[in-house]
Symmetry: C2
């Protein structure tokens, strides 16, 4: 499903070059449930942004379902992002003075789904993450963990085939974190959705079946989850 070959990302900051990703070559198959781990600044979010078609590599290839993403037009990339991929950003990226419901409905507006159906799906997604009752609250009226869950609901609402979640439980208490991981696990086992989670917590990574570890832009470890 996902194939990266010699994926490299270099940021130029003045006269310094930061190699955020350094020749990353790996494959993630359909219906896998994978954790991406590594130190702060090791390249995890950069990798996720490229997988999610939100950013392009400096060099190397990214094949999504056999198709070279580097050859796609901006329009084609936007369609993939809206239809096939659900993305939970490390910083949530919610609209602050917009309600939870409207934030969650946003991806569906691109799919020409009737308003009634959009609302129904969005309320369902908010229910799944435990936010029933908060649908009309604006993002800036929600707690940190509630905002994080709105971002998660938004990633689920368009029935994506791939979920990319960058630290989705960073601001959640243990019980809520485990509920969310239970949701991801169910989407993976029941619906065959490929789930890739960036996390730094081992008890969150424990829900997944494969651990990929980054350091300084490189993959230094890639193994099955022994504790499963």
């Amino acid at each position: 499903l996902i194939d990266t070959r010699n994926l490299t990302k270099i940021y130029r900051l003045g006269d310094i070059a930061v190699k955020a990703l350094d020749n990353v070559t790996l494959s993630i198959g359909a219906a896998e449930f994978t954790a991406i781990m590594g130190h702060s600044g090791s390249g995890k979010s950069t990798f996720m942004n490229i997988l999610g078609c939100l950013d392009r590599p400096t060099s190397g290839q990214y094949l999504l379902e056999g198709e070279d993403v580097g050859n796609l037009s901006t329009k084609q990339l936007a369609t993939i992002r809206n239809r096939r991929i659900g993305f939970v950003f490390q910083g949530y990226n919610l609209l602050r003075r917009t309600s939870a419901l409207e934030n969650v409905e946003l991806p569906l507006t691109y799919s020409h789904i009737p308003a009634k159906e959009r609302r129904k799906k969005s309320l369902e997604a908010l229910k799944i993450v435990g936010l029933s009752g908060h649908e009309h609250h604006h993002s800036n009226q929600l707690s940190g963990g509630q905002q994080q869950r709105v971002a998660i609901a938004r990633a689920l609402v368009n029935n994506p085939s791939i979920i990319l979640a960058d630290e989705p439980t960073g601001n959640l208490d243990t019980r809520t974190s485990f509920e969310i991981m239970g949701v991801f696990r169910q989407l993976n086992s029941d619906n065959g959705i490929t789930v890739i989670i960036v996390t730094h917590e081992s008890d969150i990574a424990a829900f997944t079946r494969r651990h990929i570890v980054f350091r300084d832009g490189q993959v230094i470890e890639d193994r099955p989850n022994e504790s499963v």
Copy 2:
């Protein structure tokens, strides 16, 4: 040092009243090292915002060093915030297109400290959180965990007597989290700084000496850290 009596915070959202804090009465002494825990939406950030003089309660009292904060003018509150309290926000609240160094220097500009001294203190604070070499990068060029550490450095730079940190390790890998907690522990034991940390992770709370647990705006548990 910190005394709250029947502290209550009610948010009005349309015709609904959300009781974010419900009669919270507790005391935190000087040089204490305390963890505040509880489910998402239980009132932790609301409590921290009031302690940090960033918000006022709906009813009840907050005494800081014996002084009723409710009786202070906006100007006096601003002085307390800038001189006595270091605050790490759950959402960091950094200036995005401003360098890490400038973000960290910001609190010092209120203290009429000469530019050379401001820069020196800020570089030192960035070094303490492991960000030497990143001082000139803008916030939006830093990873999530790097941004979080800029926010922590900014809270340390004005030598506060109280540090209030709302989920300061939520986006940090385990090793970096433990380094940061080591910094807080040292500031507490060597400098007598009162440190109050919101966290949902038990191995982070393990660094502290007292655990306060919130649920639905109330304190349901308040005990020493047994594992110390």
